[in-house]
Every structure is written in C-alpha cells, then in structure tokens.
C-alpha cells in the first residue's frame, strides 16, 4: 500500500485538548514513547555517528575532567590521571562563550497533529528530538534550558541548568506538556518562550527551535532571527507531518486547521498550489532566518530521530 493510499484508510489523529491532570496522555507519542529511553538511545546513536565533540574551542579556566571521547583533542588528555587511575580523562576548560543549549519547543495546538504515516504527533517527535539534544548536551557538559511556545499552562519551562539531573527535568517537562493554545493569536506567547533567551543567552549558546512554523505570528521569524544576531547559534527545525509535506488527499475533503479556525473544502487538485504555498512560506522563513545568521531545517516526523538530531548538531557547529 502506497503512502498516499494509506491516507485514505487512516484518519489523521490529533491530540485532544485535555485537562492538565491528564497531560501524560495528551501527546500522541505513538511509537516514540517512552521518551526517556528513546532519547538516550537517540543520543547514543548520535555519539556513535559523531567523531567530534560537540564542544569545541579552548578555554583558559580549568573546568574539570571528563571521560575521553574519541575525537577529543589529544592535547587535553590528562596524562597524570591516566597514569594514576588508568582512565582516559580529558581536561576541560570553560570557554569564553556560553555553549548552553536553549531548547524552544512549540507546543501549540497545531503541533498535536499526527498524520497516518507519522510515528507520533509533531509535538511528540519534537519532544523526542529535544530530549535527545538535551542528552547530547548533558554528555558534553553543557547547560540546558527549555521553554515552550504555547502548551499546557501547567508545564513549566526548564531554567538553564547543568548536570545530569537537568535531563530528568527536561523529560518531565516534556511529558507533562500537551498541545494547546494558538500561537498565532498573539506575539506574547512567542515572547514568553524566547524572550528570556533573547535577553540572557550568552554568545555561543545554541538555540534550537522545534516548531512547525505554521501558525506563528508574522513577527516570529524576525524575533527568532534576532537571537542569532546576539552571537547565538540559532537552529530552527521546522517540524512537519509527512501529510503536511506532500498533501496526500485524493478525494474531496474539508480541512480544518488546528489553530485559527480555518476550514477549507478542497480536493487533490489543490495539491500543487498547496505545496507551492508551503514552499513559499518556508522560503520566507529561510530568508528571514538566514539573513540574520540563523539556520532553518525542515524535517518530517517520519524521519529517523537519530539522523534528525545529528543534523541539528551538525547545523549547530
């Protein structure tokens, strides 16, 4: 059965807006659960495929030891520790720039969409990628912070912290999240998520925005791109469902947006025009971001999370 034909037989699923006490079931995790384990697996895959440390540059202040990772600069190998403890340890130095990972996850209502071919909802996939990125960052000793665009009011953002426990906090926050709210209705929702980043992120911080970019306010591209001008590495990952990427509908359907209350009756004849409109919007985002030094990645949720995280890491280098 082709991908398109499967669309006919499987209705898209969308996470319902549920009370906060039931948020753990709010996200359609699909085959991406459990995120805690899956994120570690993804992160391990990223390590295995990567031969370079996520951390680069030399500092002037000693920052402790960590286990040697293939690819580390041998100049930082602590020979004394090797002789004393028979362990390969690398001496760490705090760089001058802040390499903190700031994750911005779009948890608005549109992120709850899951097509027939997707392993989970867009929010689930984004959460998995975010957790995996957090795991990678923790492995590298980078502090992590996370905020949400929209989402459940009960889900709190994760302040920037270092250490292993922050991964648990990130995962807890992601698991407590649900797809709610209309991000496009007000710029305030976006500002709440990236405002602190724009104000406090140090140079060298890596800002990863995981969003479908579909219902953000018009100023969103400029606001997000502006972070890049502050010396941060901004990687915007447009997270789309496979159905959103190729418009597989063959018969007449009434499409109802998840935000904004738009309902459109259309058929397969609209596919080309839709794809053109989507491409134009992506081009606009890319133009707005690239012009400010940010990067835009477009991924669909049927993509392998390992490859996705690796691509994001590479884009952040």
């Amino acid at each position: 059965m082709s991908a398109r034909s499967s669309i006919r037989n499987n209705s898209p699923r969308i996470e319902a807006v549920r009370p906060a006490k039931d948020v753990r079931r709010a996200i359609d995790w699909g085959s991406l659960a459990p995120i805690r384990i899956r994120a570690r697996v993804v992160a391990e895959g990223v390590y295995a495929g990567s031969h370079r440390s996520a951390r680069k540059g030399a500092g002037v202040e000693f920052g402790g030891h960590r286990a040697y990772t293939p690819g580390d600069d041998l100049r930082h190998l602590d020979v004394r520790s090797l002789l004393r403890h028979d362990h390969l340890l690398v001496r760490q130095f705090e760089t001058e720039t802040d390499r903190a990972l700031r994750l911005v996850v779009d948890a608005s209502a549109s992120m709850g969409y899951r097509g027939s071919r997707a392993p989970g909802s867009k929010l689930a996939w984004a959460a998995l990628v975010a957790a995996a990125l957090a795991r990678v960052a923790i492995k590298s000793g980078d502090p992590i912070g996370m905020s949400f665009i929209g989402g459940s009011k009960d889900a709190r953002p994760v302040p920037v912290r270092g250490g292993r426990e922050v991964f648990e906090r990130v995962v807890d926050a992601l698991e407590a999240q649900s797809a709610e709210g209309e991000a496009g209705s007000s710029i305030a929702m976006l500002d709440a998520a990236i405002g602190s980043i724009a104000r406090s992120a140090r140079r060298g911080s890596v800002v990863v925005v995981l969003s479908d970019l579909l219902d953000l306010p018009p100023q969103a591209a400029a606001r997000i791109g502006a972070i890049s001008t502050r010396g941060c590495v901004v990687v915007v990952v447009q997270t789309l469902d496979p159905d959103e990427a190729d418009f597989p509908f063959k018969e007449t359907v009434r499409l109802k947006s998840l935000e904004g209350g738009v309902t459109v009756e259309t058929d397969e004849a609209a596919r080309e025009r839709y794809l053109a409109a989507l491409a134009a919007e992506q081009a606009a985002w890319r133009q707005a971001l690239v012009s400010r030094g940010a990067k835009l990645l477009t991924m669909t949720t049927d993509r392998d999370p390992v490859a996705a995280v690796r691509a994001i890491v590479e884009a952040a280098l």
Binding site: R8, D212, T252, V253, L255, T263, T266, D267, Y274
Partner: protein
C-alpha cells in the same frame, strides 16, 4: 384498489429521491484536521461533479429498495389470484374435467376464450398439487373421454394438459363426470374431487342441476363459475347447408332468437357472393336460397355479422345426395298395413327421425351403381337373390353398406337359382317356432331395454339358418330356446344383419314392439358409422371398416387416423369439410355442429359444487414475503456497497 394501496404505490414516486440526491448533491467531504489548512486553496465547485451520478450501483440499489418498499406496502394489490384446492393435510385425488366443446370458444371479454381461461385454471390447480396427490384429466367434449388417467406424476399431467386443444365438439358433461368419478373413485386418497372447468352449456339448461345425482363421496367443484355466469354471449351457427334442385337449404340455430336479428346468410363462391337471405328471428330455422349456375362449384354458406363463436358461421354447401339414404325393399302389397299407409318398417324409421332419407324400392338392385345412393338396405323376406343381385349386394356391403335381411317364409322358398350367397352358404328353412319370446339378456348390448319388449311375439313361424352359417355370424339376439333371432356379420367395410323373422306384422308382432325400434336404431347407427355420409356430427368418429389406408385433410390440416374396434377411425373435432382418401379413393365429408351446442345457456349447479370449502376460487398466493426478502437483500447490498465505497463514513 384501496386508498392505502394507492398511498403505498405513491411511495414508489419517491424513487426519484435518490436519483435527485445522487444527481444534485454536492459531495460533502469528510472533515479532516490539517494544521496548514490556511495554505490550502479551496477547490472551486465543479458543475460536472455536481451533476453526475457518483455511485451508480448505490443509486440502483436504493431506487430498487424504494420500489420494493412501495410494492410491499401495496402487497394486497400485487397478490396473484390463483385457483387452488382447499385441503387438509392428506393427499388429494382430483379429476379435472375440461370442457373442450365449441361453446368454450366464446370470448366473453377481451381476446381470451373460455377454453383458454379454463386451461389456465387447470394449470393453476395442477401447480397447487403436492407430492402424493393424484390428478386425472377428462375432456367434456362429446364424446367425453379420458385425457389422462389418474397419475401422481404432475409433470405428466401438465404435459397432457398442454396437448389439450379447442374443438367444435358438443358438450357431454354428464359423461365426463361419470368418467371422472370412475377415474378417482378407486384411488387410495381419501380426499377425492372432481373439478369442473366448463361453461356448463351442454344444452341441458332445463335439466337437473349438475352434481345433484352424483356420488357424494366424490364431490364436484365447479372451480370457475364465472365461465358460466358470463352468459351474455350469443351465437348463431349453420347446422347444415345442402344444395338440391337449384336452391340451397341452410339450417341454422341461434342461442337466442334475437341473435339472428340483422344477420343474413350468404352463399359464396370463394369471395363472390352468389345469393343471400336474411335470417328469420328464430332459435332454429331454415333458409332456402335460389341458386343458378354450375352445380359443380364448391360453395360455402356464410353468416354475416359477428357473434361469440366464429367457427360455426361458415359451412360447405353439399349436394343432397349420396349414400345418406336407407333403402327399404319389400312387397308393398304384403307389407302394407291393413289400415293403409306405408309399410311398418318405413313408419318405424320415420318415427326414429333418422337424419337419412328413406327410400322404398320394389326389389333388390341388380347393379352396383344402383346401390351407391344407400347407406343401408333393409330387405324384408327376400326370396333369394339373383346372381346379379348377389353381385351388386356383395359390392354394396364391401364398400361399407349395411344389408339387413329379414328372413321369412319366402326366404325358405327361393326359386331355383336364387340364393343368399355370399351371405349365407345354405338356404334357410322356415318352420314353426317352439317359443314366442326372446332372451332379453342376449340382446341387451345392442337393443338395451328394448329387448325386454320382445316377448310373446305371436310369431307364425321363424326362419332357421344353417348351423354353419350361424357360426359365421355374431348372434345379437336369441330366442329363448337359444336359436338366433338377430345375427350380424362383418364383410368388407360393411355389415350383414339377419333376422329370422320378417318385418311383416302378419308374421309376428315384432315390428310393433319397442324393441323393433331399438333394432332399427342400431342398424341405422351402424349404417351411419360405416357408410360415408356427406355430413356427420362433429366429434363423432368416422369408421372405415376394411379400409387399409385412410388419409384425411381437415379444416386445419392433416387429421390422423387411428385403428379401433377393427377399423380405421377418424375423429372430426372441428367443423368444416374433410377431404378423405380411402384406399386411394377420394371422398368428401363434412363435420357439422350439433344443435345443442349452440345453446349457450348454462346448466344449473348445486350450491355445494361452488362451495369455497372445496377450493379457492379466490385463493391467493401472497408474494409479500418475497418482496420483503428482496427488500432485506437490497438493504444488505446497500450496506455492503457503502462499506466498500465509503470507508470513512457515508455523508450523503
């Protein structure tokens, strides 16, 4: 048709609803969540898509379902009325009497004849039979006959019924009922019935009611009384049309006198009308029409106008001559009654109202051609025959004539050279009779009850036939001492009858007894049967004793011959001319209708014979259940089709 029925049928109008829905509805699409919906352009409505039938199979099923629903609601209307037996649980034996007489040709309404309706009724009755039931078919056209002996093979009964056709016979309901009762009377089924499918017009409208004198163990059911109730049909028919002496004599009969009003009889040569005359307003009449021209032309008498039965409105005009005459040979001086008048034989024949001319001749003919005009020759106390006479009489008998020799005193005193050869090898003798009475039982088969009247004949003597000659004859009536009184012998296609008493009242009282009339009647019947009359009653077989091959071409093609009672027989079932070839000799005969068949008045029927307890004249076969099943099947099919074509849910 009730209001509810009309209302239910009105539901069928809704068959247009799914059509309009399929034609006009715009396909309401499924609503699907789709985040970038604002990027999707709205598809413009397509008129073509709006107009087309989107699911033809679904539409057809829905339309059929609505029609089935309407029919189900109106099921009282669409019930099929059929004849069926009212029955319990036991097997039934039925004898179906189908009237195939001429009156059943009448069309009471429409183009369907009574016979066709009766035949359809018989088919419905056969269809209602179950396994173990027995059926027999009896045909009521005269003479009544068995169409199919009782059988439990319903398919054989259907096949036999299929072969039954219309005829112009008279009606013999009584005979048919007797046969029917005989056929089913001995069957093991407890429930036995005789089913009559007839218009009951058997010419006995004033007779006893049908079923009043029958066996109550085999009740009669007149299954289609409507055939008899439709008595508004009138008919006139030509009984005979003869030509003699430059004029045509047409005898006709009408069911009612006013049926002849405005009608006339025409004498036609092909399509050319030679002469015509108006029919007198009478139920039975005769029209004389003068004719001129060549007598060899084949003329037809035709009744103008139309009536219930068309087949009897046309008849061949035959020359009044030929063998349909009886010759009485006797010495009129001796045979004359003392009070004057014709000899007693002639008077007896006149009393019998035989449809044959009686011609007295002084002596037996001695030329063959002189015998050609006669069907029978009654020779009273002949003193032997001359060789020429013997030769002529032998030829007469061989060609089918009936020769009756009443042997008396003179027969035993034949002059030299005069003998009775080749009919008798020895000369008969004459002497006193030891007894004056006859054995009635010996004559019952031929004379019936008339034989009992031949008692104390006061005969002054009787002839005695040599034993060798007696052995060559069949004894039809015997004296009480066993000596033959009436003898019969077949010869060629004819017969030779002998009586050992002469027909003279001076010789005995036999000519004065009713038994004598019975004897003459039997002789005349034999003469009619064996001779070649130009005209005979339809349905009465023509026998060709001694003939080796007979071919007949009837009004509707070839008529088969069958051998029975030692002679080839042909049964004329239709009115009209029959062109025969008897052993290579061409012959023309005419089958004429019987007068009683033109009386279309139905015979009365006992009320029990039309009781609904015997059968369902109004029985119905309810087809509602079949419609309901069809409706259920359509609903199931509609569900399946929807499931196959609308997996996301039907929105229409």
């Amino acid at each position: 048709m009730s209001f509810l029925t009309i209302l239910a049928l009105g539901v069928a109008v809704l068959v247009a609803a799914p059509y309009l829905a399929h034609r006009l509805r715009r396909k309401r699409a499924d609503e699907v969540p789709f985040a970038p919906a604002r990027l999707v352009p709205e598809a413009p409505p397509k008129a073509r898509r709006r107009a087309r039938l989107e699911d033809r199979s679904l539409f057809a099923i829905r339309a059929a379902a609505i029609v089935a629903l309407a029919l189900l609601g109106a099921s009282p209307l669409v019930r099929c009325s059929r004849l069926a037996l009212s029955r319990g649980g036991a097997s039934v034996a039925v004898a179906i009497v189908i009237d195939d007489s001429m009156s059943m040709r009448a069309k009471d309404s429409g183009d369907t004849t009574r016979f066709e309706r009766a035949k359809k009724g018989a088919e419905e009755i056969l269809a209602s039979l179950r396994e173990g039931d027995a059926a027999a078919i009896v045909l009521a056209g005269a003479p009544a006959r068995v169409g199919l002996a009782a059988t439990t093979d319903v398919s054989a009964a259907r096949a036999a019924l299929e072969g039954v056709g219309e005829s112009d016979r008279a009606t013999d309901l009584d005979g048919a009922l007797a046969i029917a009762r005989t056929l089913v009377g001995e069957l093991p089924q407890i429930d036995r019935r005789v089913i009559v499918l007839s218009d009951l017009a058997d010419g006995k409208s004033d007779g006893p009611a049908l079923g009043s004198n029958g066996d109550s163990s085999v009740p009669i059911w007149v299954a289609m009384p409507e055939l008899a109730k439709a008595n508004d049909a009138v008919d006139c028919g030509i009984l005979s049309a003869d030509r003699a002496g430059g004029r045509a004599r047409v005898r006709f009969a009408c069911s009612v006198p006013h049926a002849a009003t405005g009608r006339e009889v025409q004498i036609k040569d092909g399509e050319k009308v030679l002469a015509s005359a108006a029919l007198p307003q009478t139920a039975l009449g005769e029209v004389m029409i003068p004719l001129t021209g060549d007598d060899t032309r084949e003329l037809f008498a035709v009744l103008t106008g139309t009536d219930a039965i068309a087949s009897d409105d046309r008849a061949l005009v035959v020359v009044e001559s030929g063998p349909a005459a009886l010759a009485v040979v006797g010495d009129r001086t001796d045979d004359a009654v003392s009070t004057g008048g014709a000899p007693v034989v002639e008077q007896a024949l006149a009393a019998l109202h035989v449809d044959m001319a009686v011609r007295p001749i002084p002596q037996a003919p001695d030329r063959r051609e002189d015998t050609a005009a006669f069907a029978a020759m009654l020779i009273d106390d002949p003193p032997g025959f001359t060789p020429e006479q013997r030769h002529a009489l032998a030829a007469f008998v061989d060609r089918g004539g009936v020769l009756v020799l009443a042997l008396g005193r003179r027969a035993a005193a034949a002059p030299l050279g005069a003998t009775f050869e080749p009919f008798l090898a020895h000369a008969p003798s004459f002497g006193p009779t030891p007894t004056q009475s006859v054995d009635p039982e010996s004559g019952a088969p031929v004379l019936g009850d008339g034989a009992t009247s031949l008692d104390d004949l006061t005969a002054k003597g009787r002839a005695t036939v040599a034993p060798d000659d007696v052995a060559a004859f069949e004894s039809l009536l015997k004296w009480s001492d066993g000596a033959p009184l009436v003898l019969r012998r077949a010869r060629g296609r004819g017969e030779v009858w002998l009586t050992t008493l002469s027909f003279s009242v001076d010789a005995s009282d036999m000519p004065l007894r009713p038994g004598f009339l019975s004897l003459l009647d039997a002789i005349v019947a034999a003469a009619k049967e064996r001779s070649a009359p130009l005209r005979g009653d339809v349905g009465v077989p023509w026998a060709f004793a001694g003939a080796r091959q007979v071919e007949a071409e009837g009004p509707r093609g070839r008529v088969p011959s069958a051998r029975g009672d030692g002679a080839l027989r042909i049964v004329p079932t239709l009115i009209g001319p029959y062109r025969l070839t008897v052993d290579g000799t061409p012959e023309l005969r005419v089958a004429a209708p019987m007068q009683r068949e033109l009386d279309l008045r139905p015979r009365a029927v006992v009320s029990e014979a039309t009781s609904s307890s015997l059968g369902g004249g109004v029985s119905v076969v309810d087809v509602s259940w079949t419609i309901a099943l069809a409706l259920l099947a359509l609903v199931a099919a509609e569900t399946v089709v929807r499931a196959m074509t609308r997996p996301r849910g039907e929105t229409a």
